[in-house]
Symmetry: C2
Subunit: 337 residues, 2 copies
Amino acid sequence: MSEITKVILDAMGGDHSPGEMVLGAVNAVKEKEDLFIYIVGKENAITEALSQYTYPKEQIEIVPANDEITCHDAPVVAIKQKKESSMVVGLRMLKEGKADGFISAGNSGALLVGGQVIVGRMKGIERAPLAPIVPTINGVCLLIDCGANVDARASHLVQFAKMGSIYMEHVVGVKNPRVGLVNIGAEEEKGNALVKETFPLLKECHDINFIGSLEARDFPYGAADVAVTEAFVGNVMLKTTEGLASALIKKVKEGMTATPISTIGAAIVKPQLKKTLKTFDATEHGGAPLLGLNHLVVKIHGNATNKEVKNAIFQVETFKKQDINAKIREHLVENAE
Amino acid sequence: MSEITKVILDAMGGDHSPGEMVLGAVNAVKEKEDLFIYIVGKENAITEALSQYTYPKEQIEIVPANDEITCHDAPVVAIKQKKESSMVVGLRMLKEGKADGFISAGNSGALLVGGQVIVGRMKGIERAPLAPIVPTINGVCLLIDCGANVDARASHLVQFAKMGSIYMEHVVGVKNPRVGLVNIGAEEEKGNALVKETFPLLKECHDINFIGSLEARDFPYGAADVAVTEAFVGNVMLKTTEGLASALIKKVKEGMTATPISTIGAAIVKPQLKKTLKTFDATEHGGAPLLGLNHLVVKIHGNATNKEVKNAIFQVETFKKQDINAKIREHLVENAE
């Protein structure tokens, strides 16, 4: 039998917590027997949610935590003061090595702070980037960094490129991933001061497949497998993508159902359209890893449903089996020393 | 009779030059008699294109220019050396006050450089931002700056906010436009160093309707009328929006025509869908003004068709009639001195 992967799941903090969190865990353990999941949060609510399902009981354990970090909490204060919150309890367990990864749909800022402060960065890693998988027209792209590390330096971006490349290759399974530097033009001399400083450094990295500048226009067309940028720009790209995709799909639906006749057409078109647009569904790929920490922390969407939770659990399993942190250490840290 | 608006149109440099440029000019003068258009470029090609149409001949004049700046030219070198290019000839005419505005579909970088170097910034204006109108789900938003002014300072962003507000109110016709600062969170303490420095300065501007941080996720939903940001971020937002919109619409079409049955549904749905998505069509609003120069320079898309050209010509007319530069001088420059 293969080695057990242990996952800590924050049951609280999401829009559909704890219901969808619990269901995601149940579906995961029903599908794979080499998983063990700690569900952290309010005991009664979790017990009640679990009682609705039949599942292998020996694979799930409830860890009580009476407090909760909400989306209204200030990140640094919350991590410091809410010691009994599900997020802090879960992150502490992770730090103590009780599991291979921690998954949360809660307050993003608090999770980023908690990851750095409680779990801690790997020795030699300067910043821990948040790296969501963003759907493109023909696949996915890892957008690194979308986290809280604003005002990054060139050396940080180089580390992001290497970590992102390792993750895409070994967790997502893209061979020799194309790494692009987000820029406002294709030429090497284009860009702001940070990009101009980073470009030649990436050119010198022989352990990644650097393809040069990536124009934002080509990003949705899948022009790169890893898009490297500092967090402010990455966050704006991610949020523009999410906002526009939902706005446009809303608009398409409105247009299709504007008249009784078009509504008939819409009904005919719907199954195929849904199938095609499914490839634009980020939840298929689990959550966004916070890379470069001593242990894996995964941020899932605030409105995550059980499918995203289950995929994030499987993502922790792949991360562990591929021993990503050992690979990061080998390519980044030993080189750096 | 009202005063004549004079427009200089660069016939070269676009994907459909000079054909669509010429047709745009022809349609504009057929619609409005208080317009006069100089079409600058290769004389034979323009004459031939014009010969296909009937139009009031006294409203269009060809200005010969034998050279052309292409998309492959390096901006600064091109502006310096290609003195007989349509772009340089046109910008020089504008500088000499021969017209109210210059429109080009050519090399963006060269146009930005030429605008600053040949036409020149208004006294007191620190940077000249490029401010495209971006469609949103229920209207449009002016995204300022998307130009070449990377690594901007807070004082630049304050000027962008004021110029953008004046433009939206008096050219686009949005009353008391809501001005948002592009940010990665809603709170005042969020953001990078530039945003944190700019936020309190904008709060103190009593001549604009500052609504605080604008999250990129809300931008496609029309949460602001003017989105203020530095050029690198603005360019990434603009290009992500353009790229994703075209990618998604391509995907929707693919989905709708994937099977014979869905293709029938697609045919039924198409007229309404087209109508709805038309509101997402940027060409309805002319081009992107380069603000803060001594005279108006307008950048239209490289693949602009006659409709965009015509709308850009009308945009120059509104800019002139509303005396935007006098308003900018009044609100920005006199306050600054």
